[in-house]
């Protein structure tokens, strides 16, 4: 395993991270057709160490994306299909009675599928809120509590949840607290005709190309550290903070449409998400610093699920993406 060098000596590592990440992206895109931007944003979230909520209609390759990501990063992968009858113990694990060699019986914790490094929570909004809430502690603190025992998860534990935006019946919308724990909410758009043709050719071929592992966990961990070391200037930081504050309807800088249609603005996790994924984008771009454009690029994925519309906004069909885009446009960049 190749451990990354110490921070002070990694003068050239950042520069080299760019080609390495480019190679990773290329490998993923070799299997995931027509979702280049989605892959970029997903990689940024992974490098930032955040969880991702992936929204899209069935059949767009969300599960495949998670599987390929896990394979290229060399991360153990687990998949949970969320259903209404899924119980928390089904994903966390449970204590079962075990008999040892001496014939004594005792409770022993049997880990659930949560104990992995890359978890695909498929159709997470089909589970009951009780089960959804079981993910809260795992996502935020990377640990689970069963009874009086706490069980640590892997440092690389990453949740990639999917939900279907179309079906409303039999679903349980994620509570705000859980939504806030997803660093980014990504949308899988329908591929264009050219991408579809490539998908058809590849999926109907006699053999499927194997997924090649690009990184191992140690390298990913090193890249995550490098991500956090990306320089953030004050004016770029203030730009991100300004965007987040402008999502609050009662803030001075909130635009008129936010005041009218928004019930609650983004939490501080929103600005953290913007900056961390912005740093990841800078790293992927081979830069040492976060730019305004990095923040602007991740503003919508980082804030769209954190901006809660009021009834008027929902009734008017207001799109949170549009609101965030207008906020980004109106927020001054630097003193100028």
């Amino acid at each position: 395993m190749n451990e990354p060098p110490a921070t002070a000596e990694r003068a050239s590592d950042t520069v080299e991270a760019g080609p390495a990440l480019e190679r990773l992206k290329r490998e993923i895109c070799r299997h995931i057709i027509g979702h280049d931007q989605l892959v970029d944003e997903l990689l940024a979230a992974v490098l930032a160490g955040g969880h991702v909520l992936l929204e899209g209609v069935p059949g767009l390759g969300k599960t495949l994306l998670a599987r390929v990501l896990g394979a290229t990063l060399g991360l153990p992968f687990a998949r949970i299909q969320f259903t209404p009858d899924l119980m928390p113990a089904d994903i966390i694990g449970t204590r079962i009675v075990m008999q040892d060699e001496a014939g004594q019986r005792q409770f022993e914790f049997q880990p659930g599928p949560l104990f992995t490094e890359l978890l695909l929570a498929d159709e997470v909004n089909r589970a009951t809120p009780k089960t959804q809430s079981a993910l809260l502690e795992a996502m935020e603190e990377r640990q689970v509590t069963v009874g009086r025992d706490q069980h640590q998860l892997s440092r690389a534990f990453t949740v990639l949840a999917t939900q279907n935006p179309i079906e409303m019946e039999g679903t349980y919308p994620l509570p705000e607290a859980q939504l806030d724990r997803f660093m980014l909410k990504l949308t899988a758009d329908f591929p264009n005709a050219e991408a579809l043709a490539t998908i058809v050719d590849r999926e109907t071929a006699a053999e499927r190309a194997p997924v090649e592992q690009v990184f191992d966990f140690a390298q990913l961990d090193g890249l995550r550290k490098q991500t956090r070391e990306i320089a953030l200037a004050r004016h770029v930081r203030d730009f991100a903070v300004g965007i987040m504050l402008a999502t609050h309807p009662d803030h001075d800088t909130a635009p008129a449409e936010v005041r009218r249609y928004v019930r609650h603005g983004a939490s501080p996790r929103g600005v953290l998400s913007m900056i961390l994924t912005g740093k990841a984008l800078a790293l992927m771009d081979g830069r040492l610093n976060v730019s305004f454009d990095d923040i602007a690029t991740v503003a919508a994925p980082a804030l769209r699920h954190r901006v809660l519309l009021n009834f008027e906004g929902e009734a008017a069909g207001v799109n949170a993406n549009t609101l965030v885009a207008s906020i980004v446009e109106a927020t001054p960049r630097g003193d100028s």
């Binding site: 002070a8 003068a11 070391e229 320089a231 953030l232 200037a233 004050r234 004016h235 770029v236 771009d285 830069r287 040492l288 610093n289 976060v290 730019s291 305004f292 454009d293 990095d294 960049r333 630097g334 003193d335 100028s336």
Partner: protein
Amino acid sequence: MSDTADPVRELRRLIARLRIARIRQRSVALLSNGLLAGLLAGAGAALLARAGWLGLAPFNVAAVCVAVGAGAALLWSLTHRPSALDVAIRADLALALRQQVSTAWDFIETRPDAPVTRRLAARALSTRLTHRIGSVFPVRITNPTRLLPVGAGALIMVLVIDLPFETSRSVAAPAATRQEDRAVSNEGGYLREFAEQMQLRAKRELLARSGTQAAAMRDVAERMERGLLSRDDALAELRDLSARMDAARREALASGPSVPTAPMGATRDLSTVLTAAGARDIDALLRQLARGDLSDAELEALANSSGALQRLGITPEALGEALDNYRAGDTTGLRAMLEDAAERARNQADAEQLAQADDEINRSREQLGDPLANLDRVRRGGKPGDPANLEREENLSDADDVGEGGSPGSGQGEGLGIGDAPAENRSGRGRGDSGLPAITAAIRPTAQAGEGTVFSSPMRTLPEDNLDTLAPTPDLNGIATAFRARVAEVMQRDDVPAHRKAYIRAYFLALSQAEKTPRTAGSGPQGQRLEDQP
């Protein structure tokens, strides 16, 4: 490590150069804005100044506006210089450097010793920013700069093109005030002409009080004519001026011996004496007296002009005694007597001139709608040169103070001559000694408005007896002739109220009839009421 090899130092140098370029670019832009604003403001201010609204020279006003605009822009650019971080941010945005320069500069300012700072500086320099400095903050021709010639042209046009005062005022002033301003200006013109004539006479006849008041009157009149005074201001100034005229007139009357003479009588009598003595003026006569070289013929002529000297307050007895003493070699008595007469004549002339000026002022006040003008005129009316008028004026004041149907005060009509009529003041006076009977004056209620308020108006009528003895006077004819063109002009003016036009027309028609009709009892203008105030 050399300076050039140290990326932090190199970046500092680069940012300093960028900052200078940015300050230059910003100063030029601000200066253009300031100059344009100054030029446009200067053009507007010059226009107002030319229209007489500001009371300042248009060029000076424009120059001050331009200087203030440019100076404010320069001052602002000097006091609000951009920070180095701001310059770096702008450079990043201008060259799409993705905040590499500004981030490096931010770290240099906040964490100069961090290892990453050096790397950031090196990365910022790798953007070849050094070779692109000139394109970051170029001195551009902005829209205000392009409009500078337009602003300058507008200012020059305003300063150079001949804009008639009335025209420029009509552009700026609303229609309601335009008429009022024109009336003030016209009255100012009349008063200025009068004041100029008054100054000439004061200088010629050594009338000190008249000279002083004429200067003050001319100042007010010129400001009215130039439109520098509103109607209210003009009336206030005229009231003040009228009061000063009256005070000066009273002072002139009080300083001379209390000998009643007709208007212009003192100067005429003095001229008679001087002519008799063969002297050019009173000073020459006094010099002759001092030298004792008056001939017997001249002394005889002086003795024969005792009538004129008597009207100057020198009794025949005193004159005879003084002449005897003079022949005996004592010139002091005659000299003192003549000096006293000359002083008296000057005071009389001064008072007369001041009264005439006061009448003119009150007429203008009346034209401008001052309700107190009539009252003041009546209060101060009467024979100006007559000290007895002081007492009569007191009586008139008493009557005016009542003003509600009260009986006129006693003594009205005493010593009033034709020359007292304000309408005749324009044609001059001097007929107080023409032998015409005195015109009686009366305060008569002419209108009543509201609850018991009665407006009184002085009316003067000729006495109905002895009309046969009256003969037409050349001066009366002269008035009609001299004012015919003026009357025609007034009749065409819009600012003269219709009822005044009717009055003026009736007055001058009456004069014309008097000119043509042989005077008989009960006919002619003397048989009609000459209403001083409609």
